[in-house]
Symmetry: C2
Subunit: 186 residues, 2 copies
């Protein structure tokens, strides 16, 4: 499994607008699974799961990595997908909104687990979504230049950090709101 895969093709990204497909690629990060296993976890029939897997496989998000009995086992092709659409459109906007919403919720839960009291959950999630969405737009050209490169996770983290830093002059409003929400001093 690759560490990081940058995905910019709008046609591929649109596939992730579907909740079941998004759940499939999330589940296949932990361990390889067969369609029957996914079918039980996601409470969908096996033929539906196969249809989604075939689409995801064609787009390069998952691939068969072995067999369990008669069934193929599937795994994600990369530990981290960096989704950065090289194009616009209603479905792309909706897909990115769904992805950012999920990421914002994850971050909210992480900060809660770390002991932060965030009174306004909705506002926190909206600020993070605005941040992620602005960052994606601002760093689109840079990310495009990195496509196809083999990036290890440490490099990737530093790179993302640099993208935030480079674009931070345009993100000062979000920075201020976040400091307030997390009750951090200036």
């Amino acid at each position: 499994m690759k560490d990081v895969l940058i995905v910019t093709d709008p046609e591929k990204i649109k596939l992730l607008a579907d909740r079941t497909r998004l759940e499939i690629i999330n589940l296949l990060r932990e361990r390889p699974m067969a369609a029957s296993g996914l079918s039980i976890l996601l409470k969908k029939d096996v033929s539906t799961i196969y249809r989604h897997i075939n689409l995801l496989e064609k787009a390069g998000f998952v691939r068969a990595v072995g067999k369990e009995g008669n069934e193929k086992l599937y795994r994600r092709t990369a530990r981290i997908f960096l989704i950065a659409p090289a194009g616009e459109g209603n479905l792309i906007t909706l897909t990115m909104d769904a992805i950012h919403h999920r990421e914002a919720e994850t971050l909210y839960n992480l900060f809660k687990r770390a002991g932060f009291e965030i009174e306004d959950r909705t506002l926190f999630i909206n600020v993070i979504k605005t941040f992620l969405s602005s960052l994606e737009t601002l760093s689109r050209d840079l990310v495009k230049r990195l496509e196809g490169m083999n990036i290890d996770p440490i490099e990737f983290i530093h790179l993302m950090n640099l993208l935030v830093l480079i674009n931070s002059p345009k993100l000062q409003e979000e920075a201020k709101k976040l400091r307030e929400l997390l009750k951090l001093e200036d």
Copy 2:
């Protein structure tokens, strides 16, 4: 192997001041290796390698994961170590400087591979080092609260991005220099 391990104990972090030990933990991310294999790659005798491995194992950076013939195979305990010392001292400063220098060089190479012409390599590396070092100091308290939590790599990346964003008002000088060095427009 865990995805992310946060290391704050200064005594453990000091171990990474040694170049050979840093190389050992970098090599053990890709695949498990025995002391003899590391000995050949790093051109050090096996007893030296064992001494380093024992120190790294005690500190929780590597662990035995199996055997190859008579030899134990070792692997890193996490894909990503977040090194954030909860303490000061000369050796800690030197260790963090070495770690940041290595990371800055990696980023320089990454941007070069992506086609950026960076004329002043030394300046670029110094700006990145200042950024990483400021970020580490500014986010120390936050990182301390996350220690011991099980964080997946996506959460970790978003979290690091947020740390940069939250602290960005204090990092505007570095942001400006970086934009200039990468010839990005304001």
